[in-house]
């Protein structure tokens, strides 16, 4: 479970995230919706301990990410862009991460199988297509069989079968009791995958609700409700 409390982040004079609070619960897909540049990625980087909050805190099972004893077994994340060296094979990349996280070596072949990368595990990851790269990110996230998944724009740039694969994966993971937190700027995608929605605009929380409730607010259209929320808040 993720608890975000009064989270703020400045970059110089820019306030990227402004006093945001919410919870991400187990067994649920929580969509994180907002226009480009609204603070979604920054919030996720703060949760993962990559950036330090200016104020407030992001806790995972009660502790900040940097203090987790078994981080890979608590949270799996795929953040923006690729996070592997192009010259290393998928298997070696995963083996290195597994070693650092204290995960048994056999788990590497398991996640390669789960993500359908078994046949290309020995290939240099730099030769991967966008979809294969995304699968490698997911494989790394699943290494520790974590209770929480954090995915930043996971379907961006994927072809239809890739999108479907991610959608099914998200559903399966939540149904298995995991807390899944997935950001997107695609409203239709969120309507298909999410149970709950957190809407963020200009770094501020605009809504924390269910998909059904939000779409009712827009007279049955999630899109109308979204624009009502994100355009209503100015600076």
């Amino acid at each position: 479970m993720i608890s975000v409390r009064g989270l703020s982040k400045h970059y110089g004079d820019t306030l990227a995230v402004d006093d945001v609070s919410f919870d991400i619960r187990p067994g649920t897909v929580t969509g994180f919706l907002g226009p480009n540049g609204s603070g979604k990625s920054t919030t996720m980087r703060l949760i993962m301990g990559l950036d330090t909050p200016s104020r407030g805190e992001a806790l995972i099972d009660g502790v900040p990410y940097r203090e987790l004893r078994w981080p890979l077994r608590s949270v799996g994340a795929v953040l923006e862009a690729w996070a592997f060296h192009p010259g290393r094979s998928a298997r070696s990349h995963l083996a290195a991460l597994a070693a650092g996280g204290g995960i048994p070596r056999r788990r590497v072949d398991e996640v390669l199988g789960l993500t359908g990368l078994g046949g290309v595990a020995g290939r240099r990851a730099g030769t991967f297509s966008l979809g294969m790269g995304q699968r490698l990110g997911i494989a790394a996230a699943l290494l520790g069989d974590p209770g929480v998944l954090v995915l930043d724009e996971p379907v961006n740039g994927l072809d239809p079968s890739g999108v479907r694969w991610i959608r099914d994966l998200i559903r399966t993971q939540a149904d298995a009791g995991r807390a899944v937190f997935v950001s997107s700027h695609l409203i239709s995608e969120m309507a298909l995958t999410a149970d709950r929605l957190i809407v963020i605009s200009h770094g501020r929380l605009a809504a924390d609700t269910t998909v059904r409730e939000l779409s009712a607010r827009g007279g049955g259209s999630l899109e109308e409700a979204f624009f009502g929320l994100t355009e209503g808040i100015g600076r």
Binding site: L50, R66, L72, A83, A99
Partner: protein, 248 residues
């Protein structure tokens, strides 16, 4: 179940180091060129009163660039590729990452550095002209010169790693390393007589690898080795401090 620790992180860095084909090749090729340069310098030694040991170790002028640049890339390639996000997700206790990198890269370059230095000496002796006095490893100061030369290659590697941790951008960090090694001694030497005793690149040739004393380098090679080690120690400490405080 006390959580991950240094051993796990060192294992991670060891896997990273040996699974990049480019690193393996550059290290192997760099060692061969370093040895070859030493052998050529040994063969060309004609002076009867000179220091053939020092000549046979001349290849480190090149070898230090190899270990230094690879040290830089060990850190900066994490940032340029985005791998740093995966690394810090697995190991959010950030200082552990840098200490493990330093331990693994330092140990590997120390072993390879010693192999390179002793190979340079062994092959150099084989081609040394009969008119030139032949040094022997049974002579304590010869053994010391060869062993310190190997250690020097590791220390420059760690210096590169420290610069990489501070600067994070490959090109800028490599420029700083090379400038610090080769340009700084020229500038400092022009500004202050005796500054050479503090410049690693000059220390290596005139003290660490030397059997016969060189003017201007009256300090013990052990003291000079300590001065050389101070650079990576300070840079790595600063790099570790910054790694914790900066956004990744």
């Amino acid at each position: 179940m006390s959580g991950y620790g240094f051993r796990d992180v060192a294992r991670m860095e060891w896997i990273k180091l040996r699974t990049l084909r480019s690193t393996t090749w550059v290290l192997a090729a760099g060692m061969c060129v370093t040895v070859a340069l030493g052998v050529v310098a040994g063969y060309n030694t004609r002076s009867v009163t000179g220091d053939p040991t020092s000549n046979m170790l001349a290849g480190i002028a090149f070898g230090q660039v190899i270990t230094g640049v690879l040290g830089v890339l060990t850190m900066t390639s994490e940032y340029s590729s985005g791998l740093i996000r995966s690394t810090l997700a697995a190991v959010p206790r950030r200082p552990l990452v840098l200490w493990a990198k330093a331990a693994v890269f330092g140990a590997v370059t120390m072993v390879l550095g010693e192999i390179t230095a002793f190979a340079s000496f062994g092959l150099g002796i084989a081609v040394l002209r009969s008119s030139v006095p032949h040094p022997a490893l049974s002579d304590g100061s010869v053994l010391r010169a060869v062993a310190m030369t190997g250690a020097y290659l590791a220390l420059v590697g760690l210096t590169g790693l420290g610069i990489g941790a501070i600067v994070r951008h490959s090109a800028a960090a490599v420029a700083l390393l090379v400038g610090g090694l080769f340009v700084l001694p020229v500038v400092a030497g022009a500004a202050a007589v005796g500054a050479g005793k503090f410049m690693p690149e000059l220390i290596a040739g005139n003290s660490l690898a030397a059997v016969k004393p060189v003017s201007g380098f009256s300090w013990s090679p052990w003291l000079e080795l300590g001065i050389t080690a101070l650079y990576p120690a300070v840079l790595l400490a600063a790099g570790g401090w910054l790694l914790v405080r900066r956004d990744a």
